[in-house]
Structures are given as C-alpha cells and as structure tokens.
C-alpha cells in the first residue's frame, strides 16, 4: 500500500505546532514520522499519521490548510554507504528528490528514508528492481482503512 504524507501549513506563531499534535493525539492518531520545513515567516509540517483519512478529517474540520500526497519510504540498513546507494540509484535515472527526511529508532532497528519525488510509483518500481527495501504501511505502523473496518 502506498504511503501518504500530510503536509500542513504552519504560520509563524508560537504554539501552532503543539495545537496540531494535541489535536491529533486527542483523536487517537499517532505520528509515525514528522518533519518541518520553514522560512522565517511560515512553514510546512509534514507528517505521516497512523490513521491518514482520520487525520485529514480532523485537520479539515479544524480549519487547517493542508494537502496529502504519496511518498516513498525506503528502509536503509544502518551501515556505512546505505543511504549513498539509494541516492545513486535515483540519480542514475535522473529522478529528482524534492526533499527527504528520516525515521530512526524503529523497533526493528531499521532506519527509513521518506522521499518526496514527482512520480512515486515509478521511483518505487526502480528501487524495488534494485533490491532496495520498500516499507509498506504496516511496517511503519500505519493502520489502513481496510484493517480498521475489520477491527
């Protein structure tokens, strides 16, 4: 299953980030990954939520400006050259990585890179063909809506 990241507009105001995390936590949504990009005036909070549709609904109902898009999550062995190999594969095919961030400290000892690329499906196929380990939703602790229905 594809991994969806939610990007939320953050204005330059103390406490707005805490407002969002409290809102999500209050609705039983965990954050699996988080990254902030900012200028002096505003920022974009990128997050991967345990319950993506639910997170979108809560943000919408509370008037936040956000978008949701597919990202690629790649498991990288925690050893020298692991990240380099991943980037080489993409560079050879001239796939531009718009930005990336990492998740460490997973229970399985794996580090994951979250990549934002223009064509995630294409990039995933390329990485898979090069024996890279692509993380699925479950591996990152994301509950798919199908699972939720069964529960």
């Amino acid at each position: 299953m594809a991994i969806h990241q939610i990007s939320v507009f953050l204005e330059n105001r103390a406490g707005q980030l805490a407002e969002i995390t409290a809102l999500l936590a209050g609705n039983g949504i965990d954050l699996r990954a988080i990254n902030i990009a900012e200028t002096s005036d505003y920022g974009v909070l990128r997050l991967i939520a345990s319950h993506e549709p639910e997170a979108c609904r809560v943000l919408r109902e509370n008037g936040f400006i956000f978008s949701s898009g597919e990202v690629v999550a790649v498991g990288v062995p925690d050893e020298p050259g692991g990240l380099n190999r991943l980037l080489q594969i993409l560079a050879e095919k001239q796939i531009d990585v718009q930005y990336m961030y990492s998740i460490f400290g997973q229970p399985n000892g794996m580090a994951y890179m979250i990549l934002r690329v223009a064509a995630p499906a294409e990039a995933s196929a390329l990485l898979r063909a090069n024996d890279m380990h692509l993380a699925g939703a479950a591996e990152l602790g994301i509950v798919s809506s199908d699972q939720e229905r069964q529960e």
């Binding site: 990007s7 105001r13 505003y42 974009v44 008037g63 978008s67 934002r116």
Partner: protein
C-alpha cells in the same frame, strides 16, 4: 463613430460650461437659503450670505455637507420643495444608523434620466438597441436611473431588475439584448453562466454599463473578454441623484462629470482646503440643478483626481478617475496614500480571500506596512519554494498597486483577529 445624447451640452465650450455653472450656482444658493433652514443655519454660522456667492469662484466660501448632516436632517430637513412638488424618493442602504432619503421633483427625474441617457449614448447605445437593466429596482437608484436613461434614448428597455439569472439569460437570448446594465460583479457572474451553458453564440451584447461597486481594470478586461463587449464605468450617488453623475466615454479612461448639473471639487480631507486640478483628494459635489434635494458642497468621501483634458471622444466636461478609496479608510504610509480597497483588489485578483489585515507601524522613524493574508488550499503547496514564489508575486503586485513595499505574512484562515464576527481590517500602531 462617437454617439451623443445632447451633443451641444456634452461638447459645449469651456466658457459655456463655466457660464452655466456660475448662473446656476448663484440661483441654487438662493433657492437653498430660502427653503432649507438646516443649510441656512450652517451658512449663517460661517457668516456667508447668498450675496457672497457671485460665481463658482466663490464656491469655497460655502460650508460642507456630509453624510452625518443627511442623517441628522432625516427625513425632511434638507428638502427644498414642498412635498406636493415631489414625485419620488430613493434611499441608500446605509450600514449604520438612519438611512438617507433623497427626494425628486418631475424635473429632477427628467434631468437625471438625461444624465443616464448620455452615459448610454457614450457606451454606443441608440434607439435600435435593446437595453437590459439588471440593476435592482426600488429604493436603490440603479434600476430606475438606467431605465429612465434607456427610455429617453429610445432603446427597447428590459426592466429585469437584479437576480433570477435563468430569466436574465432567457430574455438576453430571446430579445437579443445588446446593452447590459448591472453591477460589475453580476456582469461577471452572468458571463460565467453564459459560458457554463454554452450560450456564447446566442448572446448579442455589444456593451455594458457597470457601476455601484468598486471594480478594477483587471475585472474590466476579464468581463470584456468573456462577454466580447466593451465595459463602461458609471459613477453616482443617491444623495446627488443616482448613477450618471459621471460616466465613461469610448476612451475608457476616466469618467466625464455632467458639469452642467454638478460642480466637482477636490479637497484635502483633513483641512477642507480646495486642491488644484490633478491633485488627489476627496471629491466634493454641488448639485446646481436639482430642485427637491439640492446638496451644496457634499463630501462624497471618495478619493479621486479630476482632470481637464482634450478627450478623443469630443466631450469637454471634466473627467474624474475611478475612485481610489474612501477618505475615512485612507492610510498615509511613508507619505503615500494607501487604501485597504487597493490591497483587497490585489488579493482578490491573485485568488486570495478578502479576509486580510493591514498593520501599519513605525520602526526607527520609518513607517512599515504589513499585510496578513490568509493561506488558501489553492495557494498552499507541500513545497516551500512554491509558496515563496507565490508570495513573491503577491508582494510584487502589491508594490505595483501601492507604489510602496508591503511585507506579506501568510497566516492560517482562522487567525485574523475578529471583533463581533467582523475581521479587523486595519491596525495602525502609530496611533496606539
């Protein structure tokens, strides 16, 4: 070819216009003095008598009238004719306090209709035209004003009033309307509906007269392109008669003021001093032909510039630019006049909401102008570079409109301070 309704007046020599104004002003001041105790008291308080007004050069001696006076004198305090001579009223939709009621004699309506007929002719209309009046009819002056002008000019007049888009489009198609009169926002809405329904080939409009609302040059271009017509501006106030105080000609660059009925002045809104031609200031009108509700030196609060120029249309009456804003909203930042309406125009043109806040401050003896703008889903992007790019183009557009730099701050939709549900538009920290 340029069309006129009363060519001998519209293209009269400046000397002739001046002679009309001198004679009519003197007569009007006497009429007001004799019949309007409210204004007579104002004149007495400033030690001016009718004999002091010998020509329009003496106009500056007269006291001003403001909207507050009209409210105070409501309903009959400024009436200058007995009620049996009056045949109609119109009224403005004031947002606060009492409404303003203006009265008309038969002659007042006749002259007002003339003004609107001139505006229609200047937009290229004539007896062969079908004129669809989609302004509201009622207390509002738009519907009746253009209706009267259209009939005078001999157009087939469709008194549609506003709203009911289905019926508007049905008549527009079936009767072959060639002239459309309505607010610019309704014109834009009708244009959109025409395109949605694929009616472009069945519509025969050639021109439109759009007023009663502020609209930008960009909006004119959009409407013209979308409807394939020429779009003309018209200016007026209920207090003075209604639409037709001034109107655009084929040059589409400023509105000719009907100077045989109204004397226009530009004053400094703070001191009341008359400013030279070509200077920006508050527009003041004196109605020199109205009988029932003649206003002397009425402060419109519209900020504008007046210019005499040889207009290619052949008309000799002075031109006013599109009002730049309201004097009571005007901010002076770094010595430049800034109107919230200018900022709003830019925001709407760029697809932002009209929910914004202007913060003016003084830092190190220099004024600063900051504009808080609501982020919208359309302007948001996951990429900071893209947001920054959009922000830069907004800053550039504001600079082009205002002439000075405004710092833009993108904020969440709900974060602009509100007072009783209404967004606070301007915070001037220099005054705090």
């Amino acid at each position: 070819m340029e069309r006129y309704y009363q060519k001998e007046i519209e293209c009269a020599s400046r000397d002739q216009i001046r002679a009309w104004q001198d004679e009519r002003l003197v007569r009007q001041v006497r009429h007001v003095w004799d019949n309007v105790p409210y204004y007579r008291a104002k004149m007495e308080a400033t030690h001016v008598a009718p004999d002091d007004i010998r020509s329009r050069d003496d106009l500056y001696k007269l006291p001003f009238l403001s909207k507050a006076d009209l409210r105070e004198a409501y309903p009959f305090g400024l009436l200058a004719e007995p009620l049996e001579k009056c045949v109609r009223i119109h009224s403005t939709s004031g947002t606060t306090g009492k409404r303003v009621v203006a009265f008309y004699t038969k002659e007042d309506i006749d002259l007002w209709d003339d003004c609107c007929a001139r505006a229609l002719a200047a937009a290229g209309a004539g007896p062969e035209d079908v004129c669809q009046v989609a302004y509201g009819y009622g207390l509002f002056t738009g519907g009746f004003g253009l209706n009267g002008g259209s009939q005078k000019l001999g157009c087939l007049t469709l008194p549609m009033s506003s709203g009911n888009t289905d019926r508007q489009l049905q008549f527009m198609e079936d009767l072959g309307s060639t002239i459309l009169c309505c607010t610019p926002s309704y014109a834009a809405y009708l244009a959109e509906s025409i395109h949605e329904r694929g009616l472009q080939d069945k519509i025969h409009l050639k021109a439109g007269i759009f007023g009663a609302e502020a609209w930008s040059e960009q909006m004119r271009q959009d409407i013209q392109k979308s409807l394939g017509i020429k779009a003309y501006d018209i200016y007026g106030l209920t207090e003075l008669s209604g639409p037709g105080v001034a109107y655009e000609c084929s040059a589409q660059a400023g509105m000719h003021i009907n100077e045989d009925h109204f004397i226009a002045e530009i004053i400094d809104p703070d001191t009341g001093e008359v400013l030279p031609e070509g200077t920006q200031g508050e527009l003041v009108f004196t109605s020199i032909t109205k009988q029932a509700f003649p206003l002397l030196r009425y402060r419109t609060r519209d900020i504008c510039i007046l210019r005499h120029e040889n207009c290619p249309c052949g008309r000799t009456h002075i031109k006013m630019c599109k009002p730049m804003g309201r004097s009571d909203d005007m901010l002076i930042v770094k010595g430049v006049n800034v109107f919230p309406s200018q900022i709003e125009t830019v925001l709407l043109e760029q697809g932002y909401t009209s929910n914004y806040q202007i913060v003016v401050d003084r830092v190190n003896n220099s004024d600063t102008l900051d504009v808080l703008v609501e982020m919208t889903p359309e302007h948001f992007s996951d990429s900071l570079a893209e947001i920054t790019q959009r922000e830069k183009s907004l800053v550039a557009a504001l600079k082009a409109m205002l002439g000075i730099f405004a710092q833009v701050h993108l904020v969440s939709p709900k974060s602009i301070a509100r007072s009783e549900g209404k967004a606070i538009r301007v915070i001037d920290k220099r005054k705090i």
